[in-house]
């Protein structure tokens, strides 16, 4: 039956997630101001707080669905900006879970493995990747040369799963997956990237790979496409995390409106409202449409498993909605929104990346357009 009511277990789990997000909020301005400090995976209070995802594991049969409620926990963590207890399985680790050997999975279990795709000349187009992997028959080693940039989690993490080109420059492009550990010879990490926002995120500005030698144990069989299918699970979640910021901004904005005596009333004339009320309500509507889209994607995933198109839709809508909501919230509040006394200015800076990384909005639309039109990448570029 079509329904949008949370179960008792849903409410308790998400209620706890929200309380934990409130605890994490106390730290967000500090890590925004002190970006070169590595934000810990677990904030101090994590020791005293129950593990909300363990609660979800225990009670999943009483919920609306594991993937759905897990994604809404991430949504609350977006509201809090920093997770109290970082659970997000890093993309590199997810790839190993999907296509790594059992030995590789055992070797890296519990370790943070980032993903290294992006390069100075390759962002939305992974086929432009220039990092090379050449097989040295004599030494029975792969030799990796290249540079990966914007690698999230690498400074705090153990290493990265990277994509490198194994074919020669004149051959058709072929890419393979490899495991890099930070401590390997030839791996040079630069400092943390100086970002406009999400400064608590440990984003390595660059990782240079200078004749890094890898035995077969560091080669991950399985092709590019299967590695990328991991994004079908994460994209919707990212849309939901973005919307957590959007919800926070709407609440903050409502606070400003309340203090200014600007009333928000529902049910009356659309045309007769003040501009501030009309804009605010439209942003609430945009948020609602966004979160329902994420919920739908994750509900489908609970029922049918992860899928490319719903994931693309949730990412595209959630991220674009959040971008717009933050812009409008500052517009509604006016100059007071600019001050570091509040968090609106921080969230404005934070959310802008969400329509860019993990597949820019345009890429999601390209994926969706090709699918609905039945076009290949040659037919629709």
């Amino acid at each position: 039956m079509i329904d949008f009511t949370y179960t008792q277990a849903d409410k308790e789990i998400l209620g706890l997630a929200h309380e934990q997000a409130k605890i994490a909020r106390k730290y967000v301005r500090y890590y925004d101001k002190n970006e070169f400090e590595i934000c810990p995976a677990n904030l101090p209070e994590a020791n005293e707080e129950p593990d909300v995802r363990a609660m979800l594991d225990e009670r999943k049969d009483e919920t609306s669905g594991y993937d759905l409620i897990n994604s809404l926990i991430y949504h609350e963590e977006g509201w809090g900006n920093i997770p109290l207890r970082s659970a997000r399985l890093p993309l590199g680790s997810m790839i190993l879970e999907m296509i790594g050997t059992k030995e590789q999975q055992d070797r890296y279990r519990g370790l943070y493995m980032a993903i290294g795709l992006t390069e100075p000349g390759a962002g939305s187009d992974p086929a432009s990747i220039r990092t090379t992997a050449k097989w040295d028959e004599a030494a029975k080693e792969w030799v990796i040369n290249g540079e990966k940039i914007f690698v999230t989690g690498l400074l705090r993490g153990h290493g990265a799963v990277i994509l490198a080109r194994t074919s020669g420059p004149d051959e058709p492009a072929k890419f393979q997956t490899f495991i890099i550990e930070k401590t390997m010879e030839g791996v040079h990490l630069s400092r943390k990237a100086r970002k406009m926002g999400t400064r608590a995120d440990d984003t390595a500005s660059s990782m240079i790979l200078d004749n890094v030698r890898l035995s077969e144990d560091y080669y991950v069989g399985g092709d590019f496409r299967s590695a990328m299918s991991v994004l079908n699970e994460t994209r919707g979640v990212v849309g939901g995390i973005a919307l957590g910021y959007a919800r926070a901004a709407l609440e903050e904005t409502k606070g400003h409106l309340d203090k200014a005596g600007i009333e928000i009333e529902y049910g009356g004339s659309m045309q007769g409202m003040s501009a501030a009320a009309d804009r605010f309500i439209r942003m609430e509507a945009l948020f609602e449409a966004g979160i329902l889209t994420v919920i739908r994607t994750k509900w489908l995933e609970t029922r049918d498993g992860p899928s490319k198109i719903p994931a693309a839709i949730a990412k595209a809508i959630g991220a674009r909605a959040t971008r717009k909501i933050l812009q409008e919230c500052l517009e509604i509040v006016g100059p007071a929104a600019l001050s570091e006394d509040g968090l609106l200015e921080k969230w404005f800076r934070d959310v802008r990346i969400y329509d860019i990384y993990e597949g820019a909005g345009e890429i999601q639309r390209l994926i969706l357009a090709r699918d609905l039109l039945g076009y290949s990448s040659k037919e629709l570029s």
Partner: protein, 361 residues
């Protein structure tokens, strides 16, 4: 528990009404708009679906849920939005009587709409001002010895010249009231509007009320306590559903067009700009649906839906306009010509997004 799973009967109704909309309604849509009239055979075919008059025919049984009605409204609008209004308007009247009417009011009204022939009725709400409110309605209901006396002017009343009864919304000392008024009441004058941008076949009209007497037992609700806000809310959810139907019509029409049309030795659909419009149309049609389904399911569950209905009306109106607008752009000059339906859908969408308290789920 959160779920998007339609019930079996909802899937069947969706399929059935979609086929009816495609086979019966859509072919008649253009002429109906050109002539600003709903053909009698279309009205009879719509009535024979049994949807609008269900509460009148079977007052004892539980009526179709608001979710079911939202699904049906979307499909009817996929055929033609004016034709969706032809059922939606009497539904608004009859559902209000079902939800709030006293037994005497139900006994008086339901038999009038329980026959096999199409019978129209509508809520008379609008007053032609952008900044209306339920506290400052210009149409006034003042106490008389028998009940209430109505004075004022109601605008944009659907099916005005066809209606047997109106549910006139007026302001009183006790707040907004809904009065059941027959078409031939003394002091009631019905005038057609001078044509409208879209939904032309609905036949909107102006109702002038000069000392119209309403007996106390015809003021809707126990002690006149019918909730006008609830009628606005249900209408907003239904209008949201109508927007989805219109938007889907556009999508289904312009995408195949763009896949055939050659521009600069490529199909129009291969232009990234155009392809991205289609991606956004698809995503927004789905988002609009979740907004409506949430509102409709909250109504079914008996929850307060005023906020969700407001959000849905705002969002779906905006997105419906965007989609129909870009549908026209996709067709270029042909989008402007009445030989193609897209300009009609643009006018329908713009019109539906501005109306209130006219249809229902």
């Amino acid at each position: 528990m959160i779920s998007f799973e339609m019930l079996e009967e909802e899937k069947i109704a969706q399929e059935t009404v979609r086929r009816f909309a495609t086979d019966v309604l859509r072919p008649a849509a253009r002429d109906s708009d050109e002539e600003s009239t709903l053909p009698e055979e279309i009205l009879e075919a719509l009535w024979s679906l049994g949807i609008a008059q269900e509460v009148a025919v079977n007052p004892e049984t539980e009526r179709k849920s608001q979710v079911m009605n939202a699904i049906i409204m979307e499909e009817l609008a996929y055929g033609d939005a004016s034709m969706a209004f032809a059922l939606g308007a009497p539904m608004a009247f009859l559902n209000a009587v079902a939800d709030y009417g006293t037994q005497a009011q139900k006994d008086a009204m339901f038999p009038k709409f329980a026959g096999n022939d199409y019978r129209a009725s509508a809520i008379a709400f609008g007053e032609g001002v952008p900044n209306w409110s339920l506290e400052t309605l210009k149409t006034k209901a003042t106490k008389s010895s028998e009940g209430l006396t109505l004075n004022g002017v109601k605008k944009m009343v659907p099916l005005a010249e066809r209606c047997e009864y109106f549910l006139v919304i007026a302001g009183s000392d006790a707040g907004p009231v809904a009065c059941i008024v027959p078409k031939d009441a003394d002091g009631l004058t019905i005038k057609p509007e001078s044509g409208t941008l879209g939904l032309r076949a609905v036949g909107f009209g102006t109702i002038e009320l000069a000392e119209v007497q309403v007996p106390a037992n015809m003021v809707l609700g126990e002690g006149g306590a019918a909730s006008v806000q609830a009628m606005i809310d249900s209408s907003r959810v239904a209008l949201g559903a109508i927007q989805i139907g219109i938007s889907r019509s556009v999508f289904d029409y312009v995408v195949p067009y763009a896949k055939e049309r050659i521009v600069h030795r490529q199909y129009l659909a291969q232009k990234q700009t155009v392809a991205f419009w289609f991606a956004d149309m698809k995503m927004e049609i789905e988002a609009m649906r979740w907004m409506v389904w949430k509102g409709a399911s909250m109504l079914r569950n008996g929850e307060d839906v005023t906020k969700q209905a407001h959000l849905t009306h705002a969002y779906n109106g905006e997105k419906g306009l965007w989609i129909t607008d870009h549908g026209i752009q996709t067709l270029g000059g042909h989008g402007f010509i009445r030989e193609h339906p897209v300009e009609l859908w643009y006018r329908h969408s713009r019109s539906a997004s501005l109306l209130e308290a006219c249809v229902a789920v």
